[in-house]
């Protein structure tokens, strides 16, 4: 076989993949070559010298012309070698053992040996490899050790113990190679060499926590876990990130805590390896935001409005009252559910609302739409960004992926670095541009037009639907009405001609309607170019919440029931619900796990004006809850079990980690209790049963998927963080399930494919006094859960608008000025930031940095300078 080579390890011959790193190849053969600085996700640095082996390589004898094995006289680093046919190594000889022993003795010579109080103790590669290969005692005099700083904050999140650092540079390399935030480096020389951060603010990276996992010693620790618990005391509970849509696999490490009165608490969050999802990485939001879950402000009892005030009540009282109201409202009810609920919750919710005879259902946030297109042409089962590379293409439109879905950003960037064609369409520069092969700027308002133009620019050779497509002629005719620049046409060609192509649609600057049309246009382009129904081909929508995909799958939609089955009588969508509240055409509104008032002044207006009975179910007394007639305390992801469905449609389980806070109940349990009270049928509240039976029965796409299937694991390579801690670090192996992707319609070859002309909006243009105000998503926003997380709150910027310096000059605005931006009669106040990457004529305003702090979609609005701070 051409793609394998034969190597010999300790006199045994193996066949391994060609081109593989020798350390990896040995691992594949079951031979551990100890490493510190090498990491399969980072490549080699060759600095620790732990991986020394005796190495023989085949060489031609100049005299005889024969190939023969030439052994290097000195030990060689295995991590810097790529396997070649005929290579031979010895890993167990006396010489190699001596080499390992001295390297460990040297590494430990100035090491503080404070394992008993070190957070890494018990899962430390240095400890483990010392036990295995090191000397029993040290010849170094204790008092001769080098002493350095032990509690150096590298930022608010990460602390450095300079004494424990073994200078492997993994942290530096991760920041440079993986995160593209090269903010760590070495300072000084020799034994004084130490890690420093070079950024302002310090350690400025949304991926900083990963360095604590891959650090092979306890030199890097997180601010919230250090000196907090020992690894062996903790129980790992598998969970899923409940904040962004990538579905990152992680563990809650839990332990009963004296300070919490003996209650089991979450001590830390660790990555759970899933090579198809987040590999071994987590964003800092995934890792650190969990503190809100145990915040004292959590609601513990139901609240009922009495005499204008919300007062505590019993569950019985609250549920009786709600049941009475819903009974009276009959079909004049509506439901809004936020994307942090589980599939089981959503399913129960729509059952409750539909039991009333209503299809007035909206998923929140409502600004990103188009799930029905995902159900048709979502990425094929087996899609894995790790497999995308040379010859493939990824198109990202209307997304600042770095902020909207950090893990996808990492993986898309890595795919581009492996040679994939990356096409980025946006109104402004984002952090993906640097890695893009094609960077296209559109004018805000022309998002859909741009995708249409791409389709329209393709000649017949590139229009290659793999089967009969309904509406193709008409859609192409429509698309050809849009003009494509030569650059755009080139990008379209590259996309169409790629072996595999993934199209990622984000929510930057667009509202529900445009978002829906964008998904239509994206779906058209994918179908017309034949990039559907196969792994690594198809559509991904960057949802505004972790389980938005699940919400739609479960039928939280005014047009579709569970499994995208059209309902007979479409109900009201989100905007329709607001209108009906105002006109008092609704008698009750149930909002679960969403705080729309925080984003949307129209919702606030409607809630204040309406006579409808408002039920809010949440963890905190949010601004929306504050306007409710009844508030029900619900549980965070840590307190219940269930499933989430990621933006790549991977259904994944999470498990209960801690006891419920106060009297809070799981959302599904509340919905089903009410449904039963209302006579909508049997209430089965066990999550596993709901999933395996009710959902399986109602959602065809989920039919074959069971909790048992979701819990299945298989061996993953590289085997990071296995028992041997071979690659070091504490990225845990996955023992709780890799999840299952559900198949989209296009994967069934007999299924028909449909395209329709995508309705395009028109260009928004600035005027003398007004700018195009573009709402964008930032990872660190000021949503309620972020406010309850002290650690991350520090990183949330004050509300601002980024303006191009030329516009600022034209409008007489300076950096730091307070601006007022008025649209639809609502004024927001933000600080002016001058930013070259803001396009001319636009004001980039991050959503959710303050309550109601950005328009829902891009809009032309006057921008007025209020005052000059400090002037």
């Amino acid at each position: 076989m051409a793609d394998t080579v034969k190597i010999t390890i300790d006199d045994i011959e193996y066949e391994v993949p060609a081109g593989m790193n020798l350390v990896d190849a040995a691992k594949l053969c079951g031979v551990d070559i100890p490493v510190f600085c090498y990491h399969p996700k980072l490549g080699y640095a060759g600095n620790c010298r732990m991986c020394l082996v005796e190495l023989g390589t085949p060489r031609r004898n100049r005299e005889t012309g024969e190939m023969e094995l030439a052994w290097f006289p000195r030990l060689q680093t295995a991590c810097t070698q790529t396997v070649v046919d005929g290579m031979s190594i010895r890993t167990r000889s006396e010489k190699v053992r001596d080499g390992r022993r001295i390297i460990l003795e040297l590494l430990l010579s100035s090491h503080p040996l404070d394992c008993p109080i070190c957070d890494k103790g018990g899962e430390c590669p240095l400890q483990n490899l010392t036990m295995e290969h090191g000397p029993e005692t040290s010849r170094m005099y204790w008092e001769d050790k080098m002493h350095l700083g032990k509690h150096i904050p590298l930022g608010e999140l990460i602390y450095l113990d300079q004494e424990r650092c073994i200078h492997c540079a993994r942290c530096i390399r991760f920041q440079r190679l993986v995160a593209d935030d090269p903010v760590l480096g070495f300072d000084q020389r020799g034994r004084r060499q130490r890690i420093i951060t070079s950024s302002t603010p310090p350690f400025d990276s949304i991926f900083s926590g990963n360095t604590t996992d891959i650090c092979p010693v306890g030199a890097l620790t997180t601010a919230d876990f250090r000196f907090n618990a020992r690894p062996w005391e903790m129980v790992q509970v598998a969970t899923i990130c409940s904040h962004t849509p990538e579905g990152s696999n992680m563990y809650f490490d839990t332990r009963p805590d004296r300070e919490a009165g003996g209650r089991t608490t979450i001590k830390r969050v660790m990555p759970r390896q899933n090579e198809q999802v987040n590999e071994i990485w987590l964003s800092d939001k995934s890792r650190f935001v969990h503190h809100y879950m145990e915040h004292p402000d959590r609601l513990t009892r139901p609240l009922i409005r009495k005499g204008g005030k919300l007062v505590e009540a019993t569950w019985e009282e609250a549920l009786e009252e709600i049941a009475r109201q819903l009974q009276a409202a009959e079909a004049e009810v509506a439901g809004i559910a936020g994307g942090r609920l589980s599939n089981e919750d959503f399913f129960a919710f729509q059952k409750l609302i539909r039991g009333q005879g209503s299809n007035n259902l909206a998923a929140y946030p409502a600004r990103v739409a188009g799930a029905e297109f995902v159900a048709q042409v979502g990425v094929g089962v087996g899609t894995n960004f790790l497999d995308v590379g040379e010859g493939d293409a990824i198109l990202v439109v209307a997304s600042d992926l770095h902020e909207e879905a950090p893990i996808w950003w990492l993986r898309v960037k890595a795919a581009a670095e492996r040679g994939a064609t990356l096409i980025v369409l946006n109104g402004r520069e984002t952090r993906l541009d640097k890695f893009a092969t094609h960077r296209i700027r559109y004018a805000y308002g022309e998002e859909v037009a741009t995708l249409n133009a791409m389709l329209g620019s393709l000649d017949d050779e590139h229009i290659q639907p793999e089967r009969e497509v309904e509406g193709l002629e008409e859609t192409l005719r429509h698309a050809r009405g849009f003009e494509a620049s030569p650059e755009l046409a080139a990008a379209a060609k590259a996309f169409a001609g790629a072996e595999n192509a993934i199209l990622i649609v984000g929510g930057e600057g667009v509202g529900a309607e445009t978002s829906h049309n964008l998904a239509q246009a994206a779906s058209n382009l994918l179908i017309a170019t034949g990039h559907v129904g196969r792994p690594n081909n198809g559509l991904i929508i960057v949802w505004g919440a972790a389980n938005s995909q699940g919400a739609f799958d479960m039928g939280i939609h005014h047009r579709y029931g569970p499994g995208y089955q059209p309902v007979e009588q479409p109900g009201l969508d989100y905007a329709g619900i607001i209108a009906a509240l105002k006109s008092n055409d609704l008698k009750a509104l149930y909002i679960a796990g969403a705080d729309p008032v925080f984003d949307d002044w129209l919702m606030e207006e409607a809630l204040r004006a309406t006579n409808a009975y408002i039920i809010v179910q949440d963890m905190f007394l949010t601004q929306t809850a504050d306007l409710a007639d009844v508030v029900l305390p619900t549980q965070s992801i840590a307190e219940k079990e269930g499933t989430y469905t990621s933006g790549e449609r991977r259904v994944q389980r999470f498990y209960q980690a801690i006891e419920p806070i106060g009297e809070s109940k799981a959302d599904r349990e509340i919905f089903l209790t009410l449904a039963q009270k209302l006579g909508h049928g049997e209430a089965r509240t066990v999550a596993g049963l709901i999933f395996n039976q009710d959902i399986a029965g109602a959602v065809p796409q989920y039919a074959g998927i069971t909790y048992q299937a979701l819990a299945r694991v298989e061996k993953q390579f590289p085997d990071v963080g296995g028992e041997d801690l071979y690659y070091g670090g504490t990225s845990y192996p996955n023992r709780h399930g890799l999840g299952v992707q559900w198949p989209v319609a296009a994967e069934d070859e007999s299924a028909g494919l449909v395209v329709r002309p995508a309705e395009a909006g028109s260009r928004l243009t600035a005027t003398d006094s007004a700018l195009v105000v573009v709402p964008v998503t930032v990872l660190y926003d000021a949503e309620p859960v972020m406010q309850k997380t002290q650690l991350l709150r520090q990183r949330v910027p004050a509300p601002y608008a980024a303006l191009n310096p030329a516009d600022a000059a034209r409008l007489g605005i300076e950096a730091g000025d307070m601006l007022e931006i008025t649209s639809d009669g609502h004024a927001i106040r933000v600080m002016a930031v001058l930013d070259e990457t803001a396009p001319r004529g636009a004001a980039i305003v991050p959503r959710r940095l303050q309550a109601q702090g950005a328009p829902l979609a891009a809009v032309v609005a006057p921008v007025v300078r209020l005052e000059r701070i400090g002037a």
Partner: protein, 438 residues
């Protein structure tokens, strides 16, 4: 004999370009360009047998031959970092005969078809860097540097770049990193700079003195050059003589033949200042193993190979002469301090080993060490050997192993306690374990 390198000793003011031109200046470059293809130049340098003067003595023409022909751009880096203790020859060349250095660099650049030459010059030589800049401008004005040099169609720039005080930046790959604006951490090899060098492009790195030989070779031919020196080490070498001698300084002599340490120390150097006998010689600054001043050593003709039997090497020929007043353990302590201070910190054996050794030598100096500690020193040094990324890690073992081997009695003289320093290894180990448990 007239000098080939230190020509200012024969021709006053040769640093002036007009004087230089009047004495065959830029003749080698002219001939190279007018009469030879780049490949022919490489062949001539190979035939001359010129070996690198930066320390390793690697054949210069062979090194150039490794540079791929079809990859552009290519670069030349001139190693003017000159940081080895006791080395001060490049300084004299650049100060007094700068055009010969520039001409040599240009010949090298022509041979590999480089488009730029970077002179990486030790930061403390800031004044020399300024003078070099002036010399570069003068040479440019005469058409030796810049566009279309001497009408050949080949263009090349020369830039100076000042180091910031790290010894390790004289190591050729650390030098490249530093030139690129990064930390001076030596690179892993392979790939070698000849194929992947500055900014990832093919690069030749040569020492100042190496390059200064080239004008002569190109002007007079490889045969003429080979009239000096030996078969294996042709040409002349600048010996930097320092330490306990009456006449320290640079001496240019042919390799081999009558060139011996005895001649250098006693004839040219005027013997020791104290009049005491010579005790030891550091032939290559801090980096080479020390030589005891035996008659055999003193009378050995010096070339790149001749010191091997004594477990040492000529290196950059920075001869530091130590008389009998010196305790060699003390000298080793100084050198270990140097290496511990200058280790870049990248790899484990060198970073940890030099620091550990330093601490042990400090014990020795305080009179707290015993025989077991000396054993430990020896063992650490021996174990460090061959395990590090660059040669500094190996260099650092030389002062330890060399002095212990040849001057063991100097260690005994400074051992603690009754001088016997005899704690058994077992007791020591127990003590160390106890300390570790505290």
């Amino acid at each position: 004999m007239a000098h080939i390198l230190l020509r200012e000793l024969d021709i006053p003011n040769i640093k002036d370009i007009d004087v230089y031109l009047a004495h065959e200046g830029y003749q080698g470059l002219r001939k190279a360009i007018a009469e030879h293809t780049p490949d022919e130049v490489i062949d001539i340098v190979k035939a001359s047998g010129l070996r690198g003067r930066g320390g390793a003595g690697f054949p210069t023409g062979v090194k150039w031959g490794f540079v791929p022909k079809d990859v552009f751009p290519k670069y030349v880096a001139v190693n003017a970092d000159e940081s080895e203790p006791g080395t001060f020859k490049d300084r004299q060349l650049m100060e007094n005969n700068p055009h010969q250095v520039l001409e040599g660099a240009l010949i090298c650049a022509y041979a590999i078809q480089a488009e730029a030459v970077y002179i990486y010059i030790r930061g403390e030589y800031w004044d020399i860097a300024d003078w070099l800049d002036e010399a570069i401008e003068k040479a440019r004005a005469r058409g030796f540097i810049g566009e279309n040099i001497l009408g050949s169609g080949w263009s090349c720039e020369i830039y100076t770049h000042r180091g910031a005080g790290a010894y390790i930046c004289g190591e050729e790959t650390a030098l490249l990193e530093s030139l690129e604006g990064k930390r001076g951490h030596p690179r892993l090899r392979p790939p070698f700079p000849a194929s992947v060098g500055l900014y990832g492009k093919p690069t030749v790195i040569n020492n100042v003195e190496t390059l200064a030989n080239l004008p002569y070779i190109l002007d007079k031919g490889a045969e003429a050059y080979r009239q000096f020196g030996t078969e294996g080490s042709p040409g002349t070498k600048i010996f930097c003589l320092s330490g306990h001698v009456n006449n320290p300084g640079n001496y240019e002599l042919p390799f081999g033949g009558e060139t011996t340490l005895r001649k250098l120390i006693f004839e040219l150097g005027g013997g020791t200042r104290s009049g005491k006998p010579v005790k030891g010689i550091l032939p290559a600054g801090a980096s080479g193993a020390i030589l005891p001043a035996t008659d055999e050593v003193l009378d050995t003709p010096l070339d790149y190979e001749s010191l091997r039997p004594f477990g040492s090497s000529l290196g950059s020929a920075s001869l530091i002469i130590l008389d009998e007043s010196v305790n060699m353990a003390w000298a080793a302590n100084k050198m270990i301090h140097f290496f511990s201070h200058e280790s870049c910190g990248q790899c484990t054996p060198c970073r940890e080993g030099t620091y550990w050794l330093r601490r042990l030598y400090e014990r020795l100096e305080r009179g707290e060490a015993d025989l077991y500690d000396v054993e430990t020193m020896k063992n650490i040094a021996a174990q460090m050997l061959g395990k590090s990324i660059c040669a500094l890690g190996d260099f650092a073992t030389n002062p330890v192993l060399g002095t212990i081997q040849h001057f063991g009695e100097d260690y005994e003289a400074v051992l603690g306690g009754d001088g016997s320093g005899d704690a058994s290894p077992d007791e020591k180990e127990a003590a160390a374990t106890e300390a570790a448990a505290d």
